[in-house]
Amino acid sequence: MSARQQVLMLWLSGPGLDGRVLGWTMFDGTAGAGPQLDGDPPYPTGVHALQDGWRMIQMSPLLPPAPGHEREVSFLKHEFVFERIVDLDA
């Protein structure tokens, strides 16, 4: 078995997996040999990614803003990381 990991990062409109996809990135351990994303965006929500076989492995914690910085804007807040393992010998 030659297993490789594909990692999908989704940035959603809210803190739940049912939020709309605002941004996405895939890092591909199969170097293109495994299944690829399709669509722009590839999924309407995070739940749709689950339904397509991705396993969520991390989500952003909900942290209160630092005192004095309540109104600042920075990175996208709701980041979800998924993986799927692809068997290249299958």
């Binding site: 990062m9 940035w11 409109s13 809210g14 996809v21 605002l22 941004g23 996405w24 990135t25 895939m26 722009d40 965006p41 109104r71 600042e72 804007v73 920075s74 990175f75 996208l76 807040k77 709701h78």
Partner: protein, 315 residues
């Protein structure tokens, strides 16, 4: 053309710049200046390479191949480039000069310029980034992106993310965002200048085309407060502080532009973006009471009440 007769930006253009972080001036540079740039800009790029490598940049004095000296940071724009040079002519195009005056005043100084060449077939996608380092506002630099030749879609036009300019991030810490809803890849006609707020996220894009893509980038620092430098003749009637989406709104108010969202914004963060834009608009107008949707006003009034209570002013 004197400063007084330049075509200044409109209030609508300024409000759009504050909301979205960029402004397009399509095909404003005449063809003869663009043609000159296609000859000079690659040499400017080599000049920088020589500086970077520590080579004697001016050893080659053979006529047209002589390298062009880089301007020193801090040089007043009017003195930085020979008037007959490509950069010198571009910044004197009335539409460009008027936009510069409107955004950073009549005497900005050079930060630096750079020539970006994306060769034909170079499919590398640069990581998303903002230039320099994380900065605190509200005063800002501008960056002119000058495309002296036609750029078709997928032919290396710069990727950029509208509305990203007020997010406090540092350099390429945003490079993990490979796709964001609503991002754009520049394409347009020769002679287009796109002006970026210093903080706008952007990246060099793959060039699937058959010719090199050349772009001259120029960063300018303001030397005066950037207050009411544009054509403000229509501002007073459009600058209400009480335009409020949950109360009364008027479509011609600046607030209507400043509350615009972007497809990649989280709804909750969109409200904070609106606040940040209002803060920037206060700086640009010199009006400390301006607001959009009452976010700043209500909190400032509450803060005032708390201060009065703790100072013993309430009897």
């Amino acid at each position: 053309m004197g400063v007084d007769s330049l075509p200044l930006l409109t209030t609508d253009q300024m409000a759009s710049f504050v909301a979205r972080g960029f402004l397009r001036l399509d095909a404003v540079v005449p063809p003869e200046i663009n043609a000159q740039a296609m000859d000079e800009l690659p040499r400017l790029f080599r000049s920088w390479l020589d500086e970077f490598r520590g080579a004697a940049a001016h050893d080659d004095v053979d006529g047209a191949d002589a390298e062009v000296p880089l301007p020193r940071s801090g040089t007043v724009l009017a003195d930085a480039y020979a008037p007959e040079s490509a950069f010198g002519r571009m910044v004197r195009v009335p539409a460009v000069a008027g936009a510069i005056v409107s955004l950073v005043g009549a005497d900005p100084v050079i930060d630096h310029h750079f020539v970006h060449i994306k060769t034909a077939g170079d499919l590398h996608a640069q990581g998303l980034h903002m230039d320099a380092i994380v900065d605190s506002g509200p005063a800002f630099d501008i960056q002119l992106f000058w495309f002296p030749h036609d750029v078709a879609p997928r032919e290396g036009g710069t990727r950029f993310v509208p509305g990203s300019h007020l997010r406090r991030v540092n350099m390429d810490d945003v490079a993990r965002y490979h796709h964001l809803a609503g991002e754009q890849y520049y394409s347009g006609d020769a002679g287009t200048v796109v002006i970026f707020h210093q903080g706008l996220w952007h990246a060099g894009a793959p060039n699937h085309g058959g010719r090199d893509r050349v772009m001259g980038k120029l960063r300018l620092n303001p030397t005066v407060p950037q207050v009411r430098l544009w054509d403000t003749s229509d501002l007073d009637g459009r600058n209400r502080a009480d335009d409020h989406v949950w109360a009364q709104t008027e479509p011609d108010q600046v607030a209507a532009t400043l509350r615009g969202s972007e497809p990649w914004y989280e709804p909750s963060v969109h409200r904070l973006e609106t606040v940040q834009r209002a803060v920037l608009w206060r700086y640009l107008t010199g009006d400390p009471t301006f607001d959009v949707d009452w976010y700043l006003t209500r909190t400032e009034r509450r803060d005032s009440l708390a201060s009065r209570a703790t100072s013993g002013a309430v009897s």
